[in-house]
Amino acid sequence: MTVVPLFELRGISKEFPGVKALDDVSFEIRAGEVHMLVGENGAGKSTLMKILCGAYRADRGSFFNNGEPVTIHDSTAARKFGIAVIFQDFTLVPYLDIAQNIFLGREFSSRLPGFIDRRRIHAEAKRVLDMIGFDIDPRMPVHGLGVAQQQMVEIAKALSQDARILVMDEPTAALSDRETELLFAMIARLKKNGVAIIYISHRLSEVFALGDRITVLRDGSNIASLLPAETTPDQLVTLMVGRPVDTTYTRPSRPTPGAVVLDVKNLSGPSGFSDINLTVRAGEIVGLSGLVGSGRTEVARAIFGADRVTAGEIRLFGEPIGGSTEISALRGMALIPENRKTQGLALARSVGDNIVLAGLRKLFPSGFFFPGRAMKAARAIIEKLRIATPTLRRPVATLSGGNQQKVVVGKWLNADARFYIFDEPTRGIDVGAKAEIFRLLDGLVHNGAAILMISSEQIEIVHICDRAYVMRSGRIVGELAHHELTEANIVRLGIHQ
């Protein structure tokens, strides 16, 4: 093993307030290899890649380019070493053509000053596209392309800037099987040209079909570096999920489930889910698991009435419901959305204002608003949920993530909600505060509420939920009763092998 790696990261550590994202991680990439990077959500894959491309700075650790020590302090430096990331949200301009996008900001000049040499841009683009085997007319505008084709254009854009190391973060997440094949063919061609590829994936089939080497990250540490031939999918799953359980939270016993609170039948919608059937009973926490992009959030939004549905039925406490967030809220449904800051809170408004927003109609049936009564209600919620804020008037933006999440929950407590949908309730919350959120969920069900909880962290689902549904590609592919609820089972159902 005397191969000098193309690029190497050694002993990388990175800490965010309250979270140790990476702890002494080392990673190397060789020319012409596909290096798979696997691990659960939150294992540190994205952080590591952001450090590689200069978006984050490592707290500790060193970089080596062809064995020479170097530094990466910003994205320009990373680009200089030929490192390019294919972003999920593309940096393409929809109404320019493919060639113009590839050479945006680096247009070839024509002899006329200020003018661009479109012919040369198209010819050069064609050359780059041919290199990756993407047979398309570079004059096509980008907005008409599918996701897969846009991805190809992004890759061509990176290669035209002499990228030697391409980082792809779940590139097949939005691709059809056929498109996936084409992508794989292109990756094979890139390998042959000596380009190194770091490939992040949740799909074990890809990991084994494509990878030359596999690195497993777990809780911010490298757990293993393996060769695909020397491991099996089951071993890999075990390596990925073998995380110690959060010791600060122990699940108390639950009441026996009561009457059916939510009953969803054959629900389909244009936002990408179909034929969803699920029930939630009073006093139980039901998980909705699956990969990011499997349609969980879309289902939650449709149940709450925020998105359109095309078929099916939603019943809350036996009554049909749907299509209006106002009615859902009035009937006692609550949505704690995925993105707290843009969807759950009005950040600039005060803690008090945020807490009373959803319950305004219930608190003031006459339609007249009395600040005193609102303050009192907000104060009661703050005490009940132990929200740490000096005053009610503090803008909610100044609170910590955990306390902000409690404000969102408090908003619905104040509205007397009895059915809660939690979409990734612990995202962006410190490890310590997570247990408190779980206790909050427990408190809710003990008081007779019903909860549907979406989480990308299987361990949370296993730990908190009484049973769980698993989604894949917009459908529910399985229901796991309490005794079947293990991380391995969720991973097996949610990831097609």
């Binding site: 709450f304 925020a306 209006s324 967030t325 106002e326 859902s328 809220a329 009035l330 949505l335 959305p337 800051k341 843009t342 969807q343 759950g344 809170l345 009005a346 950040l347 600039a348 408004r349 005060s350 803690v351 008090g352 204002d353 009373v356 927003l357 959803a358 305004l360 109609r361 003031f364 339609g367 007249f368 608003f369 009395f370 600040p371 609102a374 303050m375 009610l392 008037r393 803008p395 933006a397 908003k411 509205a415």
Partner: protein
């Protein structure tokens, strides 16, 4: 929309800051008055002061409805044209039926219907409010000119004219209307569920919707109220100048926008008060009055108003940026 950027937002729980802001603006009013009093002998005459109050009452009525629209991060550019059409229709109805009450109902009703149309364009057709209401402005102007065909309607019953030029206890009637709507507007914004929801929509429409606020219905309401207030303002003008022409109220849109912004309501929504708009209307009227008294060519007025609008928005933008 970047909600993290919405910072300088105030609300009932943070009234103290509002009070401070209002205090500074009132201080501005006093300062302006003091300067004007030294510059012009006429300023402190009863006549002029009553005139200023009457003018600001008119501006306030238009701007109060607009305040609600701007609180939701929208804009209503059609209020001036709305005033023109509402005034002309109300004038015809009074002329034809001889009933001031019917005429008043027509004026307010016409304004409200126009506002409703704006609301529908903005919510159902999702046209940006500044474009929808801008198109509405030109259409209304066209309809009004066609309807009036260059004619003037004048001579209304004295009891109607009382509304604009009458006095009660030595105070012009419009001032009473202004105080009445200051109370109604303030109570609506600060002391009703709908008012609270309007602030929430302005601060973050996504959060508002996901908290069970019927965003579309509230928006339609807000545009309808803005239109109705323009209709009401048209009646005051009508009663004051005792005649209706196609270009009545046309040049009041920009000053009304300026009054709202100077009054501390953020163009980006979620923050501001109706009382602040009253102070804004006072400041704007004082500035325009000063130009009058100092015999500055009236052509300076749109220019000065334009500069005031830009300054106010610039200050607002800066405050937001510092907040980040």
């Amino acid at each position: 929309m970047n909600t993290a950027a919405r910072t300088a937002v105030r609300s009932r729980f943070t009234l103290s800051r509002d009070v401070m802001q209002a205090f500074y603006r009132l201080l501005g009013v006093v300062l302006l008055c003091a300067i004007l009093a030294t510059l012009s002998d006429v300023f402190l005459t009863t006549n002029n002061i009553l005139n200023v109050l009457r003018q600001s009452a008119l501006l306030f009525l238009m701007a109060s409805g607009l305040t609600l629209v701007i609180l939701t991060a929208g804009l209503d550019l059609s209020i001036g044209a709305n005033v023109a059409l509402s005034a002309c229709l109300a004038a015809s109805v009074i002329k034809i039926t001889g009933s001031p009450l019917l005429g008043m109902a027509t004026g307010i009703g016409c304004g409200a219907v126009i506002g409703l149309a704006n609301g529908i364009l903005v919510t159902a057709l999702r046209i940006p409010s500044f474009i929808a209401t801008y198109g509405m402005m030109w259409m209304l102007t066209g309809v009004t000119y066609y309807y009036m065909a260059g004619e003037t309607i004048h001579g209304f019953p004295p009891e109607f004219r009382q509304l604009g030029s009458g006095y009660l206890l030595g105070v012009p009637m419009p001032v009473y209307v202004m105080v009445l709507f200051l109370l109604i507007g303030g109570l609506f914004a600060q002391r009703t569920v709908w008012g609270q929801q309007i602030y929430a929509i302005g601060a973050n429409p996504v959060t508002a919707r996901l908290s069970g606020v019927p965003v579309e219905r509230r928006l339609v309401l807000v545009y309808a109220v803005s239109g109705a207030m323009a209709g009401l303002a048209s009646l005051i003008i009508l009663a004051r100048i005792n005649s209706a022409q196609g270009d009545i109220g046309e040049d009041l849109t920009l000053p009304a926008i300026a009054a709202v912004l100077v009054g501390g309501t953020s163009l980006f929504g979620g923050s501001g008060t109706v009382a602040g708009t009253l102070i804004g209307a006072l400041i704007l009227t004082l500035v325009l009055n000063a130009m009058n008294l100092l015999q500055i060519n009236s052509s300076w007025q749109p220019l000065v108003t334009g500069v005031i609008v830009l300054l106010a928005v610039w200050i607002d933008t800066r405050a937001r940026r510092i907040g980040e």
